[in-house]
Amino acid sequence: MSQLDAVTLEVIWNRMIASVDEAAKAIVRTSFSTLSNEANDFACVLTDADGQLLAQNSGSIPSFIGTLPATVRHTLARFGRDGLHPGDVICTNDPWQGTGHLNDVSIVRPIFRDGNLIAFAATASHMPDIGGRIRSVEAREIFEEGFHIPLMKILRAGEADQTFFELLRTQVRTPEQTEGDIYAQITANYLIEDRVLAMLSEYGLKDLSELSLELNGRTEAAMRAAIADIPDGDYHYEMQTDGLRAGAPFTFALKLTVRGETVHFDFTGTSPEQPRAINCPFCYTYAMSAYAIKCALLPDIPNNSGMLRPITVEAPENSLLNPLPPAAVGARASTGHYVPILAFGALAKVMPERVMAAAGSPLWNCTQSGVRPNGQSYASNLFFNGGMGATVGSDGESVISWPSNLSCTPVEVAEQYAPLLFHYKRLRPNSGGGGQFRGGLGQDVLIENLSDSPIAVTFMAERTRFGAPGLAGGSDGEVGSVQIDGVEADNRAQHHLQKGARIKIATPGGGGYGPGKERREEDIKADHFFGYVEKD
């Protein structure tokens, strides 16, 4: 039997994915961060000796597409092959070389066999705390955002750098838990190494180079073939979003160039970077661009580098989508989540049936801090999602996280943790953009402050001025809004609320698809019957 036929390759690929999935379960099991263990806000990968991705854990969210292999390549560039030794562990949370913000720590472990560097195990995970301001878009520079770890060895030949860990423990609010989570990652990386070495022995392979060529080659060919089906051309899309203050919206611009078997993103024309933590480092912009292409063309094929090779991205320096140090980047998602929408808008010019109308994303949140009756201070962070966009053949799903995958906090848990009373949390009728296929609905939530002492409240809210655009003749989704005691509130400012004050959050609906007059009679009836659409 030839060594790498259709069966052997599939079996070995499965085995490599299982090895990173095993590492992922080890992280879920042992990490303190609820973002890791409930929201899959982490990633585990295996790359070859050149930093080409071979396998990524199945559940990892789109933000991590391509980021860890890039971190591995930065590691190679920084230390060189000769500068890496068995037992070394490299760490960084640099937003530009890592995942786009300081909260994620990336850990890289070189894997050796018979003294030769043959692969890398790498993981990235959201820390319980990294110091700096808590979840605020207020930061002007990255220096305010927490402990910044340059690409460095934190274990040398298995020996931990105590200076590093002592510094880390001093800089964060949860020293034991942050350090514990980094060790959980180190353990996960070791597990990947163990599994990969066992697999190579079992199949009598010297290293991963032949596998990498074959797997990435096949995937690249499939992606190239899928791109080749798109007519060549330059496809433009432009969209405005809320901006930081009324009357000064941001512009996002994309020229998507399809030439033969390649696709190129050019974000020239996008607004400049801002003195707030909403800037989106290039690695995140790239991840979101690649995510859009994968959704549209090859949703079912596991991630690897071959898939990414035909996709190139450029964005002007010092723009929202390519900020440079020392820009603040903590809330990069509230900008980056617009990127796949831009890609779909451009692709819709030639292949509307493969994409989705805009979603009522990016994600919303409401952070409250105050003092409990017993004198303890608390901070509570609630997430809210809008509706998904419609696609050809299907209404958008209502109230769902996209493109990320963050759960909401149950009302019962939120009320147990903080002195709040929810009056309702319900679907928001009429918020989905109309069309042959309707956009998903957002939600209406009314929350009352039960605390005797005042609480401070901040928001992350988007699409309060510009609704999610419809596609192919579909209407835009309804804009979202934040009201305090019945009055529209400035969602970029902090508010201090007295007992009894009421916050009303209405998240945006998704855009519709296709002209409304084409909507089937029974779907219109069903919308009214179920109250998804209410007559005036």
């Binding site: 039997m1 069966v7 999935d21 609820t34 997430f383 309702y424």
Partner: protein, 693 residues
């Protein structure tokens, strides 16, 4: 004189019946096709046949134990009752909003799992509890009259009532339930504080709604089955298998049928645990492979582990998150879309895939000659010689080997492989899929597969066990007699069991111990009553609690020392928590106060007539039934292997591979270098050779 126990397991395709002679350790088994329209028909048919076989008087049956996938199927096929949901005003959409997550990250038309109650059947009533259980707004009882008439008008036959914070204070749910029952006495009512009294409104609602959805069905079905058994003079009490691996009486399941969703898989795990116990094995990986899925369950010590949440009715390729969250006690196991019917094909990259799509029972594998055209895992197993066409399934199925080979050859041509490479590829790949899922699950539990013994059951389990074990680095496989009906046998082993839970929020350092003790005793009294109604008296009590360090977003379920508790119990409970934490996180807990979020009790009472010899004993002398060409990759191809008749093997017999051992319900495959013998318990014990590398 009563000496027989009857086990009945209704699966999606087959209904298995086992009649066990508790005096002589003999069993009579019967496998028959399930009759979905009226499942009792197949049951009675099979029961009549086993009774007739040895003219056993029905009066000699001392107990009947039953498991069924009927309720799970009703959820999957959306064939339950017309169900409504009544919620706190402002929250009727909680069920539809869910946790706002998607289970497929790359599907732009992604949908949440379809809910069982549409929006027009979800009503609200004015009432509100606070998080501490205090009444914020009184229940508007008068409004229930109007709701009742609307329920009636809409033809609703079952109602779920889910109010916010009812796990802390159930008085509004109870009052509403009682009022509605007065107005509509025929309506089935399920209260969330009764079915799943746990915090998190969506998961509690999902569980309660699922319960309501199957409640009328469960009532009618159990009544019908009891009647028909009675009509055959089988008067022994009907006991039912719970997802937790325990037994209960019919009344308890009528109240809360959702507890029975995983009854079949639980019975399979119990059987494997018992086989492990008999063979003195500390670590067992139970492997049950049937027509559409495979189930794997880790058993450390004597019992399968229990999880307190699972998903029912997964919609997409068994994907995590694509099912309905159910909060009950259930044997912890993983289910994979890998079975004999799994279809082989080439994907867009030209790589071979096996499953998760299945040919099911209809049209089935090509070899069954019932219209199947897509090659399946079973077809590959025939082509490799693992399954024998002659006398397959006891002669019930005429095997069409020519069509089977033709279908495989066509796929081999497309893949550029020889027919043997392709067939072995399908066998190997489905094993790899199961091994991958097992590795990930085992990693999740922080264990090492090499410490386990694989116990193979189900029709396809023994066929795939040898090479699955090899992939996992497992050196020993155990295959019981009648492996194909092991779940029905497992039913006869289950203890009576009750699990109960209640909310209880308090910090250990600041505990009102009298209140905690009273809460545990309250739950225990409730559970004891169910045990008594099941016909048992002495129950073993295990106390548990959901505990966490303050500030953590998740709880561990911790086994606690026995009560009663008093003010000096604090250190013991803290120690129990620290031990559980160390096991789970592989490090000691942080120095932060510990809190209890909920308490649980588990009562178990073993069956009186211990069925300690399920493994059975062969009595005839050893005899080979022949030889055939079988494909083994480590022998570089076709080998003439021994074909052995399981029924003819005797305790102590020793053999070496390559070989296949045939039973009517299944076939055990042993590769070259493997050695096997029949243990004192009548099980086949297969030792794999040490890995070549």
């Amino acid at each position: 004189m009563t000496r027989y126990a009857l086990g009945i397991d209704i699966g999606g395709t087959f209904t298995d019946v086992v009649l066990f002679d508790t005096e002589q350790g003999r069993r009579l088994t019967r496998k028959t096709l399930t009759t979905p329209g009226d499942p009792a028909v197949a049951v009675m048919q099979a029961v009549d046949q086993v009774l007739a076989e040895e003219s056993i008087p029905p009066g000699e049956i001392e107990r009947v134990v039953h498991a069924t996938t009927l309720f799970t199927n009703a959820l999957i096929e959306h064939k339950g009752a017309r169900t409504a949901l009544l919620t706190t005003a402002g929250f009727r959409d909680s069920l539809e909003i869910g946790r706002e997550r998607k289970y497929d990250l790359y599907d732009l038309a992604a949908k949440k799992p379809r809910q069982l109650v549409p929006r027009d059947l979800r009503w609200e009533v004015d009432e509100r509890m606070l998080a501490d259980g205090a009444v914020h707004r009184a229940l508007d009882v008068a409004a229930l009259d109007d709701i009742a008439s609307r329920l009636d008008g809409a033809g609703v036959t079952s109602l779920a009532i889910v109010f916010l914070h009812s796990y802390r204070n159930d008085s509004h749910e109870r009052a509403a339930g009682e009022r509605i029952a007065e107005l509509l006495p025929d309506l089935a009512v399920s209260l969330s504080s009764d079915v799943a009294p746990e915090i998190r409104e969506f998961e509690r609602a999902s569980t309660t709604v699922a319960n309501a959805y199957i409640k009328p069905l469960a009532r009618d079905y159990l009544n019908a089955l009891s009647e028909r058994l009675g009509a055959r003079d089988i008067t022994a009490p009907l006991l039912l298998m719970l997802s937790s691996g325990g037994l209960t009486h019919v009344g308890e399941v009528r109240r809360s049928p959702v507890q029975m969703l995983e009854s079949g898989p639980a019975a399979g795990a119990l059987a494997a645990a018992d086989i492990g116990r008999a063979e003195g094995l500390e670590h067992v990986l139970a492997f049950d492979m049937g027509g559409t899925t495979a189930k794997l369950c880790l058993i450390d010590g004597d019992e399968p582990e229990i999880a307190y949440r699972f998903e029912a009715a997964r919609e997409k390729r068994f994907a995590e998150g694509s099912g309905l969250p159910i909060r009950i006690s259930a044997v912890e196991l993983i289910e994979i879309g890998a079975g004999g019917g799994s279809i082989a094909r080439l994907d867009g990259l030209g790589l071979l895939k096996a499953g998760p799509d299945s040919a099911g029972a209809v049209p089935g594998p090509v070899a069954y000659g019932r219209g199947g055209t897509a090659p399946t895992v079973t077809d590959a197993d025939f082509a490799l010689g693992y399954l024998g066409a002659e006398g397959f399934a006891g002669g019930a199925i005429e095997v069409d080997l020519a069509s089977c080979r033709a279908a495989l050859d066509a796929l081999a041509g497309q893949a550029g492989l020889t027919p043997e490479q392709l067939a072995w590829g399908v066998h190997d790949l489905v094993n790899e899929n199961m091994a991958s899922a097992a590795r990930v699950h085992i990693a999740e539990k922080g264990r090492d597969p090499r410490n386990y013994t694989l116990v193979a059951t189900g029709g396809a389990g023994p066929v795939h066990a040898y090479y699955l074990a090899k992939k996992l680095g497992i050196r020993r496989v155990v295959c019981p007699r009648n492996a194909g009906v092991a779940s029905a046998l497992g039913l006869l082993l289950a203890p009576a069991r009750v699990d109960r839970t209640a909310a209880f929020a308090a910090e250990l350092d600041d505990m009102d111990w009298a209140k905690l003790e009273a809460a545990y005793q309250g739950l225990e009294a409730e559970a004891r009553q169910v045990i008594a109604d099941t016909g048992k008296s002495d129950a073993r009590v295990q106390r548990l609690a959901d505990m966490r360090n303050i500030g953590q977003g998740f709880e561990l379920v911790v086994n606690l020392p026995t009560g009663p508790y008093s003010h000096d119990s604090g250190a013991n409970l803290a120690e129990a928590y620290a031990r559980a934490y160390q096991t789970h996180f592989t490090r000691p807990p942080p120095n932060v106060p510990v809190a209890i979020a909920a308490i649980r009790v588990r009562l178990t009472a073993p069956v009186e007539a211990a069925v300690n010899d399920l493994a059975g004993r062969g009595v005839q002398s050893s005899a080979r039934s022949g030889r055939r060409e079988v494909y083994f990759p480590e022998a570089d191809g076709w080998v003439e292997a021994a074909v052995l008749d399981r029924a003819a093997m005797t305790i102590g017999d020793e053999f070496s591979g390559p070989a296949v051992v045939e039973e009517p319900e299944s076939t055990m495959v042993i590769g070259p270098g493997g050695r096997f013998h029949v243990s004192a318990n009548g099980n086949l014990i297969i030792e794999l050779p040490e890995a070549a590398s």
